[in-house]
Symmetry: C2
Subunit: 364 residues, 2 copies
Amino acid sequence: MSSDGSRRRDVTVADVAKAAKVSKAQAARALGNYGAVSDDVRERVLAAAEELEYRPNELARSMNTGKSNTIGVVVGDIENPHFGLAMRGITDTAKKSGFNVILVNTDEERAAEVDAVRVLLDKRVDGLIVAPASSLETSHLQQVRESGRPLVLLDRAAEGLDVETFAVDMGSISYESTKYLIEAGHRRIAFVSTVRTDAPYVPGMTLDSSQISDRLKGIHRAFDEADLPHPADLVRLNAGDADSIMRITRDLLHGPDAATAIIASDGLIALSVVEAIQESGLSIPGDVSFLMYDDFSWTRLTTPPLTVIAQPVYDMGIAAAAALIRQIEGRKSAAPTPDLVARLIQRGSVGAPKDADVLSQAGG
Amino acid sequence: MSSDGSRRRDVTVADVAKAAKVSKAQAARALGNYGAVSDDVRERVLAAAEELEYRPNELARSMNTGKSNTIGVVVGDIENPHFGLAMRGITDTAKKSGFNVILVNTDEERAAEVDAVRVLLDKRVDGLIVAPASSLETSHLQQVRESGRPLVLLDRAAEGLDVETFAVDMGSISYESTKYLIEAGHRRIAFVSTVRTDAPYVPGMTLDSSQISDRLKGIHRAFDEADLPHPADLVRLNAGDADSIMRITRDLLHGPDAATAIIASDGLIALSVVEAIQESGLSIPGDVSFLMYDDFSWTRLTTPPLTVIAQPVYDMGIAAAAALIRQIEGRKSAAPTPDLVARLIQRGSVGAPKDADVLSQAGG
DNA sequence: AATCGATGTGAGTCCGGTCTCAATCCTAGG
DNA sequence: CCTAGGATTGAGACCGGACTCACATCGATT
């Protein structure tokens, strides 16, 4: 079908052996560099291999070594730079140890994730890195464990699953950030996240995402500590596409009980929130303060530059891959897990609320 | 090593066959859904498979079908949202046809790319999508062709290689954009790119990247057509890390012959260029006009929003994957290649040059 | 009732490597 | 000169499915 002969049968050890006039076993030994081979044979085999442009079939090799030198990575959305960067950390690390990476995107759908894990297992990857869409329904991850293949989690934890997890401590950074906002005078602090829920938010409800639960707990803790009521009405989940996020934002900014600060749960949300704020003709931080998760480069270019919560995403990718590979190779944990801490980077998007007095009265 | 028994041997057809008290062949037929199998046997086999939690070994299957249902993707930098988005298009399309994607990042190093291609071929991927780091040195891609395995190119063309390529026509969009800048009064239009060269830029020199050559040709054409000299001194290649880009930008903005407009070759460059402009205390477009490739969401959030050249990156990914899969499945090109055209999106970062008169005199 | 084609079925081969095992070759020690 | 023991070597099993082939089985045809 294609221009030249096309389906040239691959050269195999047997072909090389024949060309070098030795047995298949000897050729395999010379090529695989194992067992005992005389210099004479080795030379002839290697020459023949070179001549025939022999390339070992990794599939066949994997089949009886049981190792594929491949790791599977399952993420929600590779289009999100958060994962793009983590992926970079993973592939960089994998390459160093001679591993390849199969990437599966789940669109944050649990069904897709279950499927992805199954397919990767069927493909006999040596291990899996998963950023679980749900922290609660983890039976498919449990199955990975049962299959005996190494698994590490990225970005999010999974309930009741004894697995190495590489994510930052969301509770403490959320607490810290909220405290920062409260100290700046904010009482009406909104939190916008894509996490899906069946019911509307009520404090303490069980959420699918450990990340988001932890962040909410952090917010809660900061409010409790300041002896202030936690404005549960400002927690907006189920923020899906750009339109819905903009609608939510407009809603938050509207009315007498408007939010004075908004925390965007990720970079994608941030884009739409900021856009909606700008479209409303409001200024940051004059009218609304703004805080977002992930320190993307562009956050320095807006006017004002945005105050962000930086997560060591690249390092998380590296750490996850390193740990997984260590497990695959059956080595004991040598280096302790590097501490993956998030940092609040104060730039220009957080200020005092416009009508601080009115609000503090309403709050107290 | 891990909590429970760990290395449980995988369940094979033979195991299922034994449990169902039929021959391995019959079990295989029932499971693989081919050949003739009586209802009785099928039932027993499926029940046994269920009971034993049988999962076919895709490796073994691939080995004698010769199909791995896997495609390899080789890109320069997955961290770059440009590729992140393309990757999304690829994985979405691949999944629909039951293909998995092995991703290799080359860091735009040709050596890494050569290696990546070899490894993927060894892994017996069914086809390859490559965004070649170099449009000139393409012998490794030629080898892919010779191996008979399908190959399509993404984002960049490769000299003298008869392969389906999915990229926008850089020449015309570059021409159009330059013309737009010239008509706005600009004569000193700078172009900043990461492309590596051994020698400093001279018009018409051979570049490693077809993309960049085409863009430069477009710029050239626009200048020629306007009967203006093309300011070759403002073409700045080898813009590597953020620091060097910022240095280049400061340099372009400095002195009597400063640039009045800057075109950033990609999103990463754009970030540093804009940052440098802002740091210099200059305003866009008051002091400098700015134009960049790729329409990332954040470009709408800066003040002013940035004028960009939008490329249908996601669609390019989809088209590339669809074409590759079509080739793999040996089907004839059904739908014609969708036209992948770039669009100039005028927002707020291009205006008239500050001292238009002075410059037009200098230009004419 | 003998024949024929359409199932059903099991034994065994093959894919392309890795690896075991027994046989053969060499060389140094006795 | 003979032999023990390590170095070489080739035959063949094996990994886990897919698939070929020869051999039943069985209802339908004439």
